[in-house]
């Protein structure tokens, strides 16, 4: 849930990231509130992935002041990594490990103890109705299950923030919606969700949406207010109005 009074969990001030003469992030500034679902939209090449890598502590900006989960992006990168979860369509689970082995592997990386891993794995498989599949290889389970499992694994260590980079690309429309049910639930449990998507109906599920064009944020508001502001029927129309002027 978005509340203007909530504490800022991500603060980005004047973020600049250049690759040679190309400016990927051009003085980006925004804040994400604790517990909200924050949609991070933009055309291909607008600079989203660059910004996400910096927020996850995987790359340094050229300049700017940034904190993630209260930690400084320059000095406390390891603390940031412990307090966030990450999932993308491309990078999720290991195909040649079983369901349980994947859970144990990720939970282990985050330093959870064996007993805790066992507890959380059982609870997780119960919730996803996957108890029977505990010892199945990931490559043998349906894509929809994989996506849900990948999300659950990304938050197995109860992070403050989870970053989801196009988590629903290519999945069927029912699974896509079940996936969003899980996002809503995580958000209710206090996890801040930072999500990118090319499905504009999903943009409407976010508490607030930012739209990046050419390395800058051109708009940031609730979906309702954005639609009013741009006199648009849907977030798809808002996106087209903002991003269409750009040559890619």
């Amino acid at each position: 849930m978005y509340s203007p009074e909530a504490e800022n969990i991500i603060v980005v001030k004047d973020l600049v990231k250049k690759f040679g003469s190309f400016v990927a992030n051009d003085r980006l500034s925004f804040e994400v509130k604790k517990g909200e679902i924050f949609g991070f939209l933009g055309a291909n090449g607008a600079g989203k992935t660059t910004a996400i890598k910096i927020l996850c502590g995987l790359s340094y900006p050229n300049s700017g002041e940034l904190t993630v989960g209260g930690f400084d992006i320059y000095k406390e990168r390891e603390k940031i990594k412990k307090n966030i979860g990450y999932m993308s369509q491309r990078f999720s689970l290991y195909d040649d490990l079983t369901v349980f082995e994947n859970i144990r592997f990720y939970a282990g990386i985050y330093g959870l103890r064996r007993r805790v891993i066992e507890e959380r794995a059982s609870a997780l498989m119960e919730k996803l109705a996957m108890k029977e599949s505990r010892n199945m290889l990931i490559r043998d389970i349906p894509l929809g299950w994989k996506q849900k499992l990948a999300f659950s694994v990304a938050i197995i260590h109860h992070p403050k923030i989870v970053f989801l980079d196009e988590p629903t690309g290519g999945v069927d429309p029912i699974t896509r919606r079940q996936f969003w049910d899980m996002i809503f639930e995580a958000s209710r449990n206090g996890i801040t969700v930072f999500v990118t998507t090319h499905y504009m109906d999903e943009a409407e599920y976010c508490d607030r949406v930012s739209i990046m064009v050419d390395g800058k944020i051109s708009a940031l508001n609730t979906p309702e207010n954005l639609k009013k502001q741009y006199d648009a029927e849907s977030m798809n129309d808002v996106f087209l109005k903002l991003a269409r002027t750009k040559v890619n």
Binding site: A43, D172, I174, F239
Partner: protein, 304 residues
């Protein structure tokens, strides 16, 4: 003559039945869409049509030629854009295009008219390595390469997956122009909203075609009354609507929920009062026409 005729095709892999009794035809100059999620069997089917994979059963003809016996001739006639970016990353834009033209025994100059609209947008970057292009630009280059030998049939496997809404719109405008020049196009997509841009669509799931129709016909076959409901809290709205015993499906559509009922639909008044009691505010209820996505999900949950 059909551009494509597929007759009872089946294909098994060790673990799965990828295609299960697939039959359809594509008319000359038609824009035919395969709508379905990853794993539905679209790529397997396209690999059979492009003579890269042999079916276990059934027959498939492209321009009247058999995909197994006449594979060499078919390859001259078709343009194929695979789902995964398959151009040479370490060649420039221009080198890739020249390479594909040469392989097919033609030149870029000879068929430039056909690709002008598309290629002119990336021509300013023709000296750039293909691997360094943005997603939208890669897609335009791949389409140019698939077209450079002037194919009569174009087969596009998820050309818009991972592509932003603006580039997707532009891409479909290009397809419409190609179709108007007489090329038959078969295109796969996981985006349900793109279905309405095709002449006909096949809805495909788990290796089976669930329906084939013009998009305007698909939505008429939706078997139930459908309501769209809005309130201030979509998450609670979905949960509360799912508690109604008479409900058949409740799905989120942006900031609205679409609800259908098992038998007779509940009245709008009843729904309104029910939601008021649950503490919702700003409730809006309207009777709506189903979208392709509603139809697709309805077919998915139907016992097969």
């Amino acid at each position: 003559m059909f551009s494509i005729l597929v007759d009872h095709i089946e294909k098994h892999f060790t673990r799965v039945k990828a295609l299960n009794d697939i039959s359809f035809t594509v008319d000359k100059g038609e824009l035919f869409g395969f709508i379905g999620p990853d794993g539905a069997g679209k790529t397997t089917l396209f690999r059979i049509l492009t003579t890269l994979l042999i079916p276990d059963h059934g027959k498939a003809l492209v321009n009247g030629l058999d995909v197994v016996k006449d594979f060499r001739k078919i390859r001259q006639d078709i343009g194929y854009m695979p789902g995964k970016f398959s151009l040479y990353s370490d060649l420039t834009v221009e080198e890739n295009l020249n390479f594909y033209a040469t392989v097919f025994g033609t030149t870029v100059a000879e068929n430039y008219d056909l690709i002008r609209d598309i290629y002119s947008q990336i021509e300013p970057f023709k000296k750039r390595m293909a691997g360094k292009l943005s997603g939208g630009m890669k897609q335009k280059l791949a389409l140019s390469c698939a077209l450079i030998h002037k194919p009569s049939v174009l087969i596009l496997d998820e050309p818009t997956t991972g592509v932003d809404a603006v580039s997707r719109l532009e891409f479909w405008e290009m397809l419409k122009r190609l179709k108007n020049s007489g090329i038959s196009i078969v295109v796969a997509t996981p985006y349900m909203d793109e279905a309405s841009l095709c002449d006909r669509v096949a809805l495909i799931q788990n290796g089976k075609i669930m329906a084939i129709s013009p998009p305007s016909e698909v939505i008429k076959t939706y078997p139930r009354q459908l309501f769209s409901i809005k309130s201030d809290d979509i998450f609670s709205l979905l949960n509360d609507l799912r508690q109604i015993p008479q409900m058949h499906t409740v799905f989120a559509f942006g900031q609205s929920a679409h609800i259908s009922f098992k038998q007779e639909p509940l009245t709008e008044n009843f729904l309104y009062e029910y939601l008021c009691k649950k503490g919702h505010s700003n409730i809006k209820i309207s009777h709506i026409q189903a979208t392709i996505e509603d139809c697709f999900m309805d077919l998915m949950i139907k016992p097969q």
